[in-house]
């Protein structure tokens, strides 16, 4: 299945992927430091495991970035 992850098209061999799986596949080591958008809608953390992806879905990982000084 093809997904658009942070603007880049990626092909996945898995047949079924939910958001929790995607975090593992994409090696996001601190899921608490990321906010996830699926097709321009933000997801709630409790829904990650039950949100299944389909062909062409657009997923954005937005990372917390707290520096400034």
């Amino acid at each position: 299945m093809k997904l658009i992850i942070n603007g880049e098209e990626k092909t996945f061999t898995q047949e079924k992927i939910n958001i929790s799986d995607l975090l593992t596949i994409e090696s996001v080591d601190q899921p608490d430091m990321v906010s996830i958008q699926l097709n321009e809608e933000f997801l709630r953390k409790p829904d990650y495991a039950t949100t299944w992806l389909k062909e062409g879905d657009v997923v954005d990982f937005l990372y917390f970035m707290g520096g400034g000084q």
């Binding site: 603007g7 601190q30 608490d32 906010s35 321009e40 707290g66 520096g67 400034g68």
Partner: protein
């Protein structure tokens, strides 16, 4: 008929010559007021460029004094300023660049108690703070008071920014909801920051403020612009106002309270 003197026409000539700005745009910039929160890595280039641009009134907030470890990136401060309050050091440079502007310095830490009265007089707010407690508090206060503002964050070789137009565009909490668990959070002091990255992001934020006042182009509203200086890849993530947003879905319900802050960050709090 312009209010500008010959000296001002000469000083701002490279703005005025821009078709999108002209004398009218430069007057808008001069009549503008901006509050910069944090006089550090982001605040330094923001303050320098907005002072040079002739923003008529600039407020700057920071509770810290200049430290030797700041000078690698906080380019408004010099070696001779070590030990001086950052806002005093910053104001001095801003007025040296442009004596015709007003600079208000607030040598204080921003808190739920003082934020409303500090931001109230300004038309546009810029977040140049270094911690999530301050970033979320600024978002709450700007949404509550309907103040457009620029959010900025930097880490190691990366930076990201978005412009928030309360009531019209998504807010910071639409995207990030609430501060991440304390302890997980890497900051500049614990993770490091390439000095020039602060300059890259700060100048983007300054440009957004000038675009807001002159109406030039389109703002980074509903858009998170992020870049990685390692590859110099810039990317925009578009998003929409979150109808379930904890903060902006019902601004009347906002009550300003301080967010919990990891202890290790307290000493560098803006």
């Amino acid at each position: 008929m312009t209010l500008f003197t010959d000296e001002a026409l000469e000083r701002y000539s490279r703005h005025i010559i821009l078709e999108d700005i002209g004398i009218e745009g430069q007057e808008k910039i001069f009549n503008a007021s901006v509050l910069i929160i944090g006089a550090g890595g982001l605040g330094s280039p923001i303050a320098l460029y907005l002072a040079a641009a002739g923003v008529g009134r600039i407020g700057i907030v920071d509770g810290d004094v200049v430290d030797l470890s700041n000078l690698q990136r906080q380019v408004i401060h010099t070696t001779a300023d070590i030990g001086t309050p950052k806002v005093v050091s910053a104001k001095q440079k801003m007025l040296a660049i442009n004596p015709s502007i007003q600079v208000d310095d607030y040598h204080t830490m921003l808190s739920a108690e003082n934020i409303e009265s500090i931001i109230a007089p300004y038309d546009f707010i810029i977040d140049g703070t270094d911690n999530f407690a301050a970033k979320f508090l600024i978002n709450d206060a700007c949404v509550l008071l309907s103040k457009p503002y620029s959010h900025g964050g930097i880490l190691r070789f990366a930076g990201q920014t978005m412009t928030i137009y309360p009531g019209q565009s998504a807010c910071y909490a639409c995207a990030f909801n609430a501060p991440p668990p304390p302890g997980l959070v890497p900051t500049c002091s614990s993770a490091g920051i390439l000095g020039a990255v602060a300059g890259m992001l700060g100048t983007i934020q300054a440009a957004e403020a000038l675009k807001y006042f002159t109406g030039v182009g389109s703002l980074l509203t509903d858009t998170l612009l992020r870049f990685d200086a390692k590859t110099m890849a810039f990317q925009r993530a578009k998003f929409k106002k979150n109808p379930r947003c904890r903060v902006c879905a019902d601004p009347q319900k906002i009550s300003l309270t301080d967010y919990e802050q990891p202890l290790c960050e307290l000493k560098n709090h803006a």
